[in-house]
Symmetry: C2
DNA sequence: AAATTGGGTTGATATAGATCAAGGCCGCCG
DNA sequence: CGGCGGCCTTGATCTATATCAACCCAATTT
C-alpha cells in the first residue's frame, strides 16, 4: 500500500525519495479501509483527516434545504480527499464525504502534515504542487459552470476526466455538473448519437 | 507603494518582516500603473507577470465563440492578479486580463517569485497561505454555481464580497455570476424590495 | 448644446433545463 | 426463484432564465 504512495510522490515531484526520508511518511500516514457508502466526514463535524486514495472512489458533497445533494468533488485512485477548509482551520464542515466504492486509504492529520513538511522538503514541494494544481483545476471548473451549456459541461467532463464516467453513476455525474439526472440522460443520448 | 505591500505581508503571515529581508521584495517587484481598459494579458499570449494590486480594480475573463465575456475572477486592492496556469507553466493563456479602473500595481515574474521563495521563508509561507485560501474560495464558488438559484448566487456575493458591488458595473457582476445583465437587474429589484 | 456611448431598466417572448410521473432493466437478497 | 430497490430512460408539462427590443439617464466627446 505504501509503495503505491511512494511511487506517486516520486512521480509528482519528479524525484526519488530516499528510504530514510520515506520512513517519516509511513509514520505520518495510517492505513484505513472503508466500505461502500461509509462516511468519512459528516456535515457539522470537523474534518480531522485527509486521505490519499490508494484504491476506490469517494465524493464530497453538500445537502441543501430541499435535501438535494450537490457533489463538489470526486476522488479516485491517487487523488486526495478532505475538506481542506475544515482540515486546516479545524472548523466544522458544511460537507459530507463518503465512499462510492470500497476504499483503501492512507490517512493523516493536519499536525502530521505540518511535521512532515518540516522534515521532508520533498513533501513541502508535493503540497505546493498539489495546491497549485487544485487551484488551476478549480478555475477551469468555475469557467465551465458559468460559461457552458449542459451539453458543453458534459463534453468537457468527458475530455477532462473520462474515468469518472465509468466510476460514478449518472445521477452523481449529473449532480457534479449541476444538472438533473433526467437532463444528463437526454444530453448523453444526443452526444452519443453524433 | 511598497509600504502597502509590506503591511499586507505582515498581516497575512502574522509576522514582522525585517528591513534586510524586505529589500529582496523591492528587487523582485516593479512598480507599474495601468489606465482603465488597458490590457494586462491578451488571450493567446503567455502571462509572464503576476500583479499585486496596490490600487484599482481588474478582471480576468474568457471570451466564447459567440463573443460573450465570462468573468472568472475580479481583483481589487490587496488582491493578486495573474493567470496562474499560464504564469507557472509559461503556456499560452485562454484568458484576458484588463483594468476596470486605473491601477497601481507591483509586478513580478515567475523566476523572481522562485528566487524570493528561496531567500525569504516568509514569502514561501505567504504563497502557501494564498494558494490555500484561493483554493478554498474556489470550492465555495463552485458549490454556489452548481447549487444555487440566481437570487441565491447574488445574495452570496453580497455577503462574501460586498465591495465588488460598488466597484464593478452590474453587467460585469452578472457575468461573474453566470447570469445575463437583465436577469441580475430584475433579481436586484426583488432582493432590495425585501 | 448636440451627439455619442456605456450602463441600467423594463416588457414581451422564447427556450433550456427542471420537475413530475411512469415504466423498464438489472443485480441482489430473502 | 421471485420480489425489491437502485439506476436509468422517456414523455408531458412547467418555470427560471435567456433573448430580443426598446428606452432612459448620465457622463463624455465634439
Amino acid at each position: 500500500m505504501y509503495d503505491v504512495f511512494r511511487k506517486y510522490i516520486n512521480e509528482v515531484t519528479s524525484s526519488i525519495i530516499p528510504d530514510d526520508e520515506f520512513k517519516h511518511y509511513e509514520e505520518a500516514f495510517a492505513k484505513k479501509t472503508m466500505k461502500k457508502k461509509q462516511f468519512f466526514l459528516h456535515e457539522g463535524s470537523v474534518c480531522k483527516y485527509a486521505a490519499f486514495i490508494v484504491k476506490g472512489a469517494m465524493r464530497l458533497y453538500s445537502i441543501d434545504e430541499k435535501g438535494h445533494e450537490h457533489i463538489v468533488r470526486f476522488g479516485i485512485e491517487s487523488w486526495w480527499m478532505t475538506d481542506r477548509e475544515s482540515f486546516q482551520m479545524l472548523t466544522p464542515s458544511r460537507y459530507n464525504i463518503d465512499a462510492v466504492e470500497d476504499c483503501e486509504l492512507l490517512v493523516t492529520t493536519s499536525e502530521a502534515v505540518a511535521r512532515l513538511k518540516d522534515r521532508s522538503p520533498l513533501f513541502l514541494k508535493l503540497m505546493q504542487i498539489l495546491d497549485q494544481n487544485s487551484y488551476i483545476a478549480s478555475q477551469h471548473r468555475i469557467e465551465s459552470t458559468i460559461s457552458y451549456t449542459a451539453e458543453e459541461k458534459f463534453m468537457q467532463l468527458m475530455n477532462t476526466y473520462p474515468a469518472f464516467l465509468h466510476r460514478f453513476p449518472q445521477n452523481m455525474i449529473a449532480s457534479y455538473l449541476g444538472l438533473t439526472p433526467e437532463t444528463l440522460s437526454r444530453i448523453r443520448k444526443q452526444v452519443l448519437l453524433k
